[in-house]
């Protein structure tokens, strides 16, 4: 019973957070001065008809939200407007239909552009996340197990250095090194690959993934190592580890059966919280390696001032991170028997 309430609470919270992001996203692009459509409206060289055309095209002729004609809080509009005919509800309605506007740059629907890029980002982040957690956990386990030895100090320093590397710079350095060693230096596929058989294509994508994934792994493994080390140190000084040792279990058995699961639990939460930071890494890595993902979309949209794409990409990333957080919470409650009765 408790468990269901816990799950419902978490899901409700995620939905609320997504609503918050929807509102934030809506107002950011209307409050801040940079939106091209409204910047265009203020251009004195345009004729009245042209301004009106732009306003209609982007829906700016409608009141922002009920009772408010514009974003000037002192200037009330009429409250009698049909709430479904305001900018905000049209925005929500369009989102529910999967519409995010039209790209300024390519004139294609933003949703179409982003959906194909979403999978590329998931592929890259998924591979990087799995590898960095794996490497970080292994280093962390050794560092904690061999605490206060050279192995420990060595892994600690490697982790701190890795943590301090700016992701994009590491990407540039690896790209520089890779381009001198015959690795593909950008994009996701060699042109003309789409007609090749599946395995050739997969191999090609893998070789394109190598450098971005390596960058990702190096940057994020340090943090996972530090967390794993500290978490395992806590667990290994618990009384139940002494019990396990007193039972005659050897070091390997104790680590495997008593320490790792307990120490991994905090890591699950950290991985989830980290997903937000992870997207920061994805933006940088995809920009450096021209990886056609959401992060790359942000980079391109910024440089082309393509605001519908920027808005859509931000929304999609935020929702993805919130969903992943929810997933991690649910995993945690499944892994830790104590959560259910709390």
């Amino acid at each position: 019973m408790n468990r269901w309430r816990y799950l419902l609470g978490k899901i409700g919270w995620a939905v609320f957070t997504i609503l918050f992001v929807l509102v934030l996203n809506f107002f950011l692009f209307r409050v801040l001065p940079g939106d091209a459509a409204r910047a265009g409206i203020r251009d004195p060289r345009l004729k009245k008809e042209a301004i009106e055309a732009i306003r209609v095209r982007f829906g700016l002729d409608k009141p922002v939200i009920n009772c408010f004609e514009s974003l000037n809080p002192v200037k009330f509009g009429s409250c009698g407007v049909n709430p479904l005919d305001t900018q905000f509800f049209i925005y929500v309605k369009n989102l529910l239909h999967g519409e995010m506007g039209i790209s300024f740059h390519s004139n294609r629907p933003v949703a179409d552009i982003l959906v194909e890029r979403l999978w590329n980002t998931i592929l890259l982040i998924g591979a990087g996340q799995v590898l960095s957690v794996l490497v970080g956990v292994i280093f962390g386990v050794f560092a904690a197990w061999k605490a206060r030895t050279k192995i420990d100090y060595g892994s600690l320093i490697i982790s701190l250095v890795a943590w301090s590397l700016p992701t994009f710079w590491l990407g540039i350095i690896l790209l520089f090194w890779g381009s001198n060693n015959g690795l593909p230096i950008g994009g996701m596929q060699t042109p003309g690959m789409s007609s090749q058989p599946f395995f050739v294509r997969a191999g090609d994508i893998l070789s394109h993934m190598f450098l971005p994934t390596l960058t990702y792994t190096i940057v994020y493994m340090g943090e996972y190592m530090l967390i794993m080390r500290s978490s395992l140190l806590d667990v290994l000084s618990e009384d139940y580890i002494l019990t396990a040792k007193a039972k005659g279990l050897n070091t390997f058995q104790i680590l495997k059966d008593h320490a790792l699961k307990n120490a991994m639990l905090p890591l699950v939460t950290v991985i989830a919280i980290n997903l937000g930071f992870t997207m920061a890494g994805a933006v940088q890595i995809e920009s450096v390696f021209s990886w056609p993902g959401l992060g790359g979309a942000i980079y391109e949209a910024v440089n082309r001032r393509d605001f519908p794409v920027l808005q859509g990409a931000f929304l999609l990333i935020a929702i993805g991170v919130i969903a992943a957080n929810l997933l991690a919470d649910l995993t945690y409650s499944y892994l830790d028997p104590r959560v259910q009765s709390e």
């Binding site: 940079g34 605490a147 301090s164 700016p166 710079w169 140190l233 008593h258 930071f277 980079y299 910024v302």
Partner: protein, 647 residues
């Protein structure tokens, strides 16, 4: 945290003395000092003014490092080294000012939420949670892209989005400080909220805030360089990120101009690594962790240390007793050795014998070495602990000489242990039945499947727990049940000896009695030998066959239970008995022993009991008494006994 009030300057000096020894922290501090110096004196260090325009020809672009341009030139033919030097200014300015904003916001939210609690806290923390989930860099990109990319804007955006972790950390620290006694006292005498926050909460939140600030600065610097690299930097302030943006976007890669790509990144790494090391050092000093655990390699056993030869048959006459000896400790000495601290001689020269079916009580005050002695028997000492002398005989095997693998086979199957406080002694994420089964399967590989399951049920029934509870987790058990489950686990492999280390301390009186009764009845049914570690002399009188009294790590007196209670010879035993109620003389006054037990790393010179002994004389203060055999199975360590002994 009972630091005596001292001036801030004195405290800072104390802090510096400790910090100085932290190599990582000092290295970080030096790295930061260097870069701050460079930023401040940029005009003197850089050979070329960044903003002044120079006549550039195509041959000036991407020149490799030379005597004129130490780090070559960039895409505009400008000196990379000079740009690098000036870039330090931008990075540091953005880092420090943005972090300042974040720390103020996070600090205020954290303290207000933690201190005032209630709905306000709920609202603030919910808001913090939301901001924590929203990916910050994409949001920064959106905001900066929509507003003007000026340095001031970037500082504000980074600052206004970077406070979430600070708020969480400060809040939990405020909550912890708020319930401290001196804060409650200040509230009780009617101190105002502002006064409490300023004088009581802030000083204790500050250290954590400082450590956190270092991290926030480094994140702000990383974020600034990322924004600049993505093309959102202030075009009038050339930061390291921007240098990389220009170099990467304007052909440094294809020209092979590694210097233009390498130098700015190196600057970022230098600052961030310096901050990280510095923060790591600060944290280790302000919040020291022992960083020891149960799986660290134990120190190897040493024989014949200063105290002399191991005495194999020192424990008196054995022939008179009918039952064979199961476990025997001979002149066992154990020390704790921590670097930079004097060695703590936790157990010294302790001997005893345990026969089949015998129940020996081990009594003494907290910190007298009881638990150390028991852990030493099973070689389960923490990493700092070392057996420095003596032998432990289990039947025909000398345990201190066994290899780790051989010792693992003895544990639980030969000697098992019931730990105090079974809540923490059971693994919270595995079912109780599973943990019992694990012990059985480890020592008897033929036990599998149904047979194993049946044995687990049998063991639980033995201690009065219904077998269906084996599927449950420790937190679903009551305190008494957990202790019973621990006993079931300890008996699961049919051990010959069970060490019960204060098995009832955490339990209420009724449950204590039940658990003791259970132990006693199991001993009689299964013919166990038990070493019972306790404070409770009443229990010892009722249940035990023999008693070992320890004081400050040494054997004070060792005899059968009747001798201890009726004819105690060591002054400590005598005093100890006076401190316990005697049912036959209910009107007798109870007396406590004045003073405190000795600290194991600051032992008195002579007898360890001398400072508190009512019968102390001059020899006690200079010479340590030997363990003297007074009668059949009766030993004590006191100079008085030697004197009285007819020579």
């Amino acid at each position: 945290m009972t630091t005596p009030p001292s001036s801030p300057a004195a405290r800072l000096l104390d802090f510096w003395r400790v910090f100085r020894r932290n190599r990582m922290g000092v290295a970080g501090l030096i790295m930061l000092a260097v870069i701050v110096f460079v930023a401040v004196f940029a005009d003197a260090i850089a050979q070329y003014e960044v903003r002044s325009s120079i006549a550039v020809t195509t041959s000036d672009i991407y020149q490799p490092p030379s005597a004129q341009h130490w780090l070559g030139t960039d895409d505009a033919g400008k000196d990379v080294f000079s740009n690098f030097i000036y870039g330090a200014r931008v990075s540091l300015i953005v880092g420090f000012f943005a972090a300042f904003i974040s720390i103020i916001i996070g600090g205020v939210i954290g303290i207000v939420a933690g201190f005032f609690g209630g709905r306000l806290e709920n609202f603030l923390m919910r808001f913090t949670d939301i901001m924590l989930v929203i990916p910050d860099l994409p949001l920064m990109v959106v905001i900066v892209a929509l507003s003007k990319p000026s340095l001031l804007n970037i500082i504000f955006v980074i600052g206004l989005l970077g406070w979430t972790t600070t708020a969480r950390i400060v809040r939990s620290q405020t909550l912890a400080v708020k319930s401290r006694k001196f804060v409650l006292r200040a509230r009780a005498i009617g101190a105002g909220k502002a006064h409490i926050i300023r004088h009581h909460i802030l000083p204790l939140v500050m250290p954590i805030l400082v450590v956190n600030a270092v991290l926030v600065v480094s994140l702000a610097i990383l974020n600034e360089s990322t924004l600049s690299f993505l093309g959102l930097g202030d075009p009038t302030a050339l930061s390291w990120g921007q240098m990389l943006n220009y170099a990467f976007g304007r052909g440094a890669m294809s020209t092979g101009a590694w210097w233009a790509l390498f130098a700015p990144g190196f600057g970022i790494v230098w600052v961030v690594l310096g901050l990280t090391l510095f923060g790591h050092g600060l944290e280790q000093v302000l919040n020291p962790r022992l960083e020891t655990h149960h799986l660290m390699n134990p120190r190897s056993t040493v024989k014949n240390e200063a105290t002399g030869q191991p005495l194999r048959h020192a424990t008196g006459e054995r022939a008179a007793l009918d039952k064979p000896i199961l476990l025997q400790a001979d002149s066992l000495s154990i020390s704790y050795i921590n670097e930079g601290k004097p060695r703590a001689r936790a157990v010294e020269n302790v001997s005893f014998t345990l026969r089949e079916g015998e129940l020996m009580g081990l009594v003494g005050e907290s910190g007298c070495g009881k638990t150390t002695l028991m852990l030493g028997l099973l070689r389960l000492l923490p990493a700092a602990g070392q057996i420095v002398n003596g032998e432990v005989w289990f039947g025909d095997t000398e345990l201190t000489a066994l290899s780790d693998e051989e010792m693992e086979a003895v544990r639980w199957k030969g000697i098992s242990i019931i730990f105090q406080g079974a809540m923490n002694a059971l693994n919270p994420v595995r079912t109780v039945g599973d943990q019992i089964a694990e012990a059985i399967a480890k020592h008897d590989t033929t036990m599998k499947g149904d047979a194993l399951d049946a044995r687990v049920s049998e063991m639980l029934e033995l201690v009065g727990i219904s077998p269906e509870h084996k599927k449950h987790f420790p937190h679903q058990y009551s305190g008494g049940m957990r202790q019973r489950a621990m006993i079931a686990m300890a008996l699961a492999c049919n051990p010959k000896v069970v060490v019960a280390d204060e098995p009832t301390t955490a339990l209420d009186v009724m449950i204590q009695a039940q658990v003791l009764e259970l132990l006693d009845s199991l001993r009689k049914r299964l013919g166990l030998s038990i070493i019972f570690v306790t404070h409770d002399l009443g229990v010892v009188a009722e249940m035990c066959d023999s008693v070992l009294v320890m004081y400050g790590g040494v054997l004070a007196e060792y005899a059968d239970v009747d001798t201890i209670y009726n004819n105690p010879r060591h002054p400590y035993t005598q005093e100890l008995l006076k401190a316990f109620p005697d049912l036959t003389h209910p009107d007798k006054r109870l007396t406590s022993i004045p003073g405190y037990p000795p600290k194991l790393d600051e032992l008195p010179a002579g007898c360890r009991f001398a400072p508190r002994c009512p019968l102390v004389f001059e020899r006690c203060r200079v010479e340590e008494p030997k363990v003297i055999s007074i009668g059949e199975r009766h030993m004590a360590s006191c100079h008085l006994l030697e004197r009285m002994k007819p020579e």
